[in-house]
């Protein structure tokens, strides 16, 4: 700095000002460090003594460090002491406040309020109605409280609380609370919308699902189940458990669920659907998933398991309980390299399929096998119960209600089918199997035993012809379909071979003549790809 030193009276005034400043700084330092208990403030040309009577060193240190602004005013309202925090609130160094009337620091309209407070003296608090003070042009809400320090000095202690900070904290807290509320509501909504699925109503399978949220943790979990009709006579059953809790888990669950549904409805097999979903699964969005297609015509379950606890297949006819322990792959969302394969299992006579999540069998400090054993025991007992009761029984086996518990049960109905479809090797040795399936199907649909025999005989005859048509074809199959509707049984047998006129040699044309005597109608529909023989007969069904 290359300024020439000021000369003359200017120099004197400057020195005086500097001295005063140095003195003030020294005073403040002394007060702050607790070295002095009294000070002299130059007011209107006179030096006036102020004491910090009764205040000891510790209190002053405390006052300097407190988060509220603190000041001492004399009887006329001049600031004789201000702590550092008060300076911050007013946006200027605290020593600048000393010696100034406190009311100057306030908005002009607050003067009268301060007067009232000062006049009232002891223990006056002005709070709840924030006063506004100026702080470098910014208006800051404050609360004010006063206390008379003693009659001798007639001074007043004053505490100024910056409400903006509290308000910011309060707003932050409210925002966090609202955010949590909102997320919780969305998550619950998502789960309500996606969790306890609306199960389709089908005439060949009964469904019942139960979802109980965990009681300890109010956050929603990532369990879900789903039943999706993928085509005529085929129903997909899905159960999954997304890792984590709260909104992220709910969103992940919703995405997975929708993706699985979409892939299955597209006609993909369970393993294909899971493979596709695994490629979509977000990083870290791990989930265990069991996905199956229940086939009414084949009376089978085709399934794949991505790390999920094994579902159960119950048989009400024998009381047996078997686990779906095959086709096990890694959970989805762990790696793109995961490959899934599926198996198809033939279902027992009166099957109920039980899907569940780990909350049903899991208990801290216990092996999963123990929980699984509890579940299978309960399943064996409830195997013939109405589905709702069975589902409730299974959920209640959970040893803990901490975690979410989901159960989905599906029971193939008996009489199970209005339609039967069988794919059978085109060899005479397979005819017996065809007859057995067909006879059970007809009896289950209320067709009397004599009529059932006639129809089974007729179907067996046309199927036997189909085996002859396919005589030269390797691994040929034929497809037999049967329906019972509107008092008519219709059975068709489609083969892959070429129609041959029935051989009259050794009397084999007898078969077709027999068929004609047994049914009301016989149609032979040869085509380039094969021959379809259709028989129809009126039946009287007894209600079962």
């Amino acid at each position: 700095m290359a300024q020439s030193e000021p000369e003359g009276p200017g120099q004197t005034a400057y020195d005086e000002l500097r001295d005063r400043l140095e003195a003030a700084e020294e005073t403040l330092r002394a007060i702050r460090s607790g070295e002095v208990d009294a000070l002299v403030v130059d007011v209107e040309g006179e030096g006036r003594l102020f004491t910090l009577q009764g205040a000891d060193h510790f209190y002053r240190v405390l006052v300097e460090g407190m988060p509220e602004g603190a000041a001492v005013l004399d009887a006329s309202g001049l600031v004789v002491y201000a702590n550092a925090r008060l300076g911050e609130i007013f946006g200027r160094p605290s020593d600048e406040l000393v010696g100034r009337p406190f009311r100057e620091l306030l908005e002009p309209e607050l003067g009268p309020i301060l007067d009232v407070a000062l006049a009232q003296g002891d223990d006056t608090a002005i709070a709840g109605v924030p006063l506004i003070v100026r702080s470098g042009g910014e208006r800051v809400p404050i609360a004010l409280s006063l206390r008379t320090l003693g009659e001798e000095s007639a001074s007043v202690a004053l505490i100024v609380t910056d409400l903006s900070a509290i308000e910011r904290a309060e707003q932050g807290r409210r925002r966090a609370e609202q955010q949590y509320e909102r997320e919780h509501t969305i998550a619950l909504e998502l789960q309500r919308a996606l969790g306890p699925a609306e199960l389709p109503e089908l005439d060949w399978v009964a469904l019942s699902g139960l979802y109980l949220p965990g009681v300890i943790d109010p956050e929603v979990g990532g369990d879900w189940y789903d039943a999706v009709a993928v085509s005529e006579g085929r129903l997909a059953l899905v159960i999954g458990d997304v890792a984590g809790r709260g909104l992220p888990a709910a969103v992940n669950m919703a995405e997975l669920r929708i993706a699985v549904r979409a892939f299955l409805q597209e006609g993909r097999s369970p393993a294909e659907a899971l493979g596709a979903v695994n490629h979509l699964a977000r990083v870290g969005g791990m989930a265990t998933l069991f996905c199956a297609v229940l086939d009414a015509d084949r009376r089978s379950l085709r399934y794949v398991n991505a790390g999920h606890p094994p579902p159960l297949i119950l048989d009400a006819a024998t009381g047996s309980v078997t686990k779906c322990e095959q086709a096990l792959g890694p959970p989805v969302g762990v790696g793109w390299h995961a490959r899934y394969h599926e198996v198809e299992v033939v279902l027992p006579d009166e099957p109920t399929i039980v899907l569940y999540t780990d909350g049903v069998i899991e208990l801290r400090g216990e092996s999963l096998d123990a929980g699984l054993a509890r579940l299978t025991d309960a399943a064996a007992i409830g195997v013939a119960e109405p589905l709702e009761d069975l589902a409730a029984r299974l959920v209640s086996t959970a040893a803990s209600d901490e975690d979410d518990r989901a159960v989905l049960t599906a029971r193939l109905l008996t009489p199970p089918l209005r339609r039967l479809m069988l794919t059978i090797p085109a060899i005479p040795e397979a005819l017996s199997r065809l007859r057995g399936q067909l006879r059970r199907f007809l009896l289950a649909n209320g067709v009397d035993a004599d009529t059932a025999y006639d129809l089974v005989l007729a179907a067996s005859e046309i199927a036997a012809n189909a085996t002859e048509h396919a005589y030269e074809l390797r691994d040929a199959q034929f497809v037999c379909r049967a329906t019972v509707a509107d008092g008519n049984v219709t059975i068709s047998v489609r083969d892959q071979g070429r129609w041959r006129a029935p051989r009259q040699v050794d009397g084999r044309g007898r078969g077709l003549r027999l068929v004609e005597s047994l049914v009301d109608q016989l149609d032979l529909r040869p085509s380039t790809t094969g021959t379809e023989a259709v028989i129809r007969r009126k039946v009287e069904q007894t209600v079962r």
């Binding site: 005819l431 005989l457 036997a464 009397g507 007898r510 027999l514």
Partner: protein, 121 residues
């Protein structure tokens, strides 16, 4: 699993072949051959006992008609044993076989229907 099994007995000079199970296109020819081998020259007649037979198709009818034709060629008779209410009776009935081949509800009558002696000579 065999679809049908055979049991044989002799009542006097009459051979009785009992068929348990099902007779269809898959096993008709084999059963036919086996029964033909069982019917030796000494047999005065043949009874096919269909009482425990659950199913009979046109291959079974072929078998029965062929047996009847062959026995007649030797001057002998075939008869069937099965109850009126038996399921396979339906096959015979629809094909008109029960009018062409003598049928009886019980074994003694069936044996008598062969016209051969049911007692040892």
């Amino acid at each position: 699993m065999r679809l049908a099994s055979l049991a044989t007995a002799r009542i006097g000079s009459v051979l009785v072949v009992t068929v348990t199970g099902e007779i269809d296109r898959s096993n008709g020819d084999e059963l036919h051959q086996t029964i033909l081998e069982l019917v030796d020259a000494d047999a005065g007649g043949l009874v096919i006992d269909l009482s425990p037979t659950r199913f009979l198709d046109s291959a079974g009818l072929d078998l029965l008609f062929d047996l009847q034709r062959r026995l007649r060629a030797r001057g002998k008779q075939l008869s069937l044993c099965l109850e009126d209410g038996a399921m396979v009776r339906r096959t015979l009935n629809v094909a008109g076989a029960d009018a062409l081949i003598p049928c009886a509800n019980d074994l003694a009558t069936a044996v008598a229907l062969t016209g051969a002696s049911g007692t040892d000579q």
